[in-house]
Amino acid sequence: MSQNENQSPETQKEAPKPAAATQPEASKPEPEPMREIITPSNKEVIVIAEQVQGQIQTVTMELLGAGRDLANKLGGKLSCVLLGHNVKEAAQKLIHYGAECVYLADHPELENYRTLPFRRVITDLLQTFNPPPHILLLGSTTTGRDLAPRIAAYFKTGLTADCTELDIGPYEHTNKADPDKLGLYPGCLYAIRPSFGESLKARILGPWNNPQMATTRPGVMIPLHPDTNRTGEIREIPVNLKSEDYRLEIMEIVREAQSAVNLDEADVVVAGGFGLGGSEGFELLKELAACFENGVIGASRKVVDSGWIPYQYQIGQTGKTVRPKVYIACGISGAIQHKVGMQKSGLIIAINKDADAPIFQVAHHGIVGDVFQVVPELIRQLKAGKQLGSSVSQQKTLV
């Protein structure tokens, strides 16, 4: 459902001009200044951490980086909530990445993420805050996107999904259709996200309730450099689960080999599109990806929808957003929905038969040619280059 269904951007009200001292005030009454409205909060910024088998996920470190900036601007503190089992060491790591306080729930029932127990512990914790925290941040992951809307609905507060930028600033609400909210709100969370196929950037605000919530995409925010000299408080929080929190049990967790579909962390992504002509084409791309130290394959939506490759490989608006060091687009035309998922990559190389394909507008380097000729040649030359390199090193050892 739409974040902003039928909403249109509000026009920014012009700042009232100071009336000249000589002018009689009776003819034109001075517009009354906006009343300032401060929604109660303790100015705290809280990041909900994500861990898998005790390993803090990178999106959490990124959120702490973004959260640090917001907390500084608000003059509040940056905290983190960590739920898991045997995760005390991980709690320390969160402090090294900038958290001043870690609310820790260490409990066997919290070992793996489940919606209801996590929701219970976090909402129980947040309810003890009076006034509430100012901002609550989660990652746009299968965990964060599952949990954040539950928390937002519980507190009936605003939540903006998949943000690419976060900031703090004032907001003047002038929409007369909504008279109760008229006023100037300082210190709002600016949750900025792409909309309409990423042709637009929308700034979404919700200063009427706290905490103001947002999720951010992995790979977008910049973490702080970890510093083991940073100190902070680790505060154990209670875990009081109710019987209805056990309505879902995990039977099995399967994580495929790291190299299989770890699009988020790969250095090189070799992505295939409809130009491959069929699922067999991905064998060739796998061969190219295997030429790199940390290379994986990916795909456009059209080939996923055609059933050539599973959804986990999909890059773009309805798939993953990636920013590897190198992105090699093979037979991908480059529809806007695909470009939004990869345009932040370090180096983009496009291989396509069609010289007019839009992918060349976003690529840094391109070859106009048949994927089935260019990719085998690329593999051959990459392998040949290594042979050259290894013979050089052999010579060195001989010397």
Partner: protein, 277 residues
């Protein structure tokens, strides 16, 4: 064989962004002019609902919220095999954000009576938030499985496969429950002949149509207008900016022998830095 009584599937009509019509030069969408379509993610949810009915029985009710033309997607759902359609349509819903939308839809669900299973698409293509399903579940105090890509009913519980980073998990969940369906689930099957005939009949017979597809207002479902629309939404879109086009500096190699073009590419791009062969 376990049996299911009622299945709800929540669907939305969205602008077709691949069509040129209704796309303003500044990138915004003129919803009145844009081509309309069933949210692509909802096709998976509809398939999940129909599949459940095929295997375990029950009645499939498609529910939508939106302006009157959204009846089109309810018709489409019936063509595919859904039994009933409900459209919540009310001007006071304009400018609803996800929380207000979830409030309104949860009132429709309560009005109809809680089913065994509620399916939603993972997200929509015009909002991309993936929030409404879980927010409805929170309102209804239901367990949920989001990113569901496979499932079966076993001993009165839903056994579901859920996508997670780098893999998947199998969960077992009590019903009633909310399921948001990932697009790694099965594609929506073709319209059924029976469904298509039914819709043909409904289009000719207004009275029958009103029995199968009902349009309801906030008052009909007992929803508080203050919790809907602009007033009920804790977020607003304060500002939109056009995103600057990037790129335009591509060095394209063309019309030369493949080995020359590849050699030139490798000489200008430091790909070998990442190579392990």
């Amino acid at each position: 064989m376990p049996s299911i009584q009622n299945i709800f599937v929540l669907i939305k009509q969205v602008p077709d962004q691949s069509a040129k019509a209704g796309i303003n030069p500044d990138g915004t969408i003129d919803r009145a002019k844009a081509k309309r379509m069933l949210n692509p993610f909802d096709r998976y949810a509809l398939q999940a609902a129909l599949h459940t009915k095929q295997l375990y029985g029950g009645k499939v009710t498609a529910i939508s919220m939106g302006p009157p033309p959204a009846v089109e997607i309810l018709m489409e759902a019936i063509e595919h095999g859904a039994d009933m359609g409900y459209l919540l349509s009310d001007r006071r819903l304009a400018a609803s954000d996800t929380l207000a939308t979830a409030y309104a839809l949860h009132k429709v669900i309560l009005h109809l009576g809680l089913p065994d299973l509620i399916f939603c698409g993972l997200q929509t293509t015009d909002g991309d938030t993936a929030q409404v399903g879980p927010q409805i579940a929170e309102r209804l105090d239901l367990p949920q499985t989001s990113y569901c890509e496979d499932f079966r009913v076993e001993d009165g519980k839903l056994v579901a496969r859920r996508v997670i980073e780098g893999g998947y998990q199998w969960v077992k969940m009590a019903m009633p429950a909310m399921v948001t369906v990932a697009n790694s689930y099965h594609h929506l099957e073709y319209k059924t002949i029976r469904g298509a005939r039914k819709v043909q009949m409904l289009l000719r017979n207004e009275e029958e149509k009103n029995k199968v597809i009902k349009t309801v207002t906030l008052d009909d479902v007992g929803a508080d207008p203050l919790l809907c629309g602009l007033k009920g939404s804790p977020t607003i879109v304060a500002k939109t900016d056009k995103v600057a086009e990037i790129g335009g500096s591509c060095k394209v190699r063309q019309g030369e022998p493949t080995d020359h073009m590849v050699r030139d590419l490798l000489q200008t791009c430091n790909l070998r830095e990442f190579a392990n062969v």
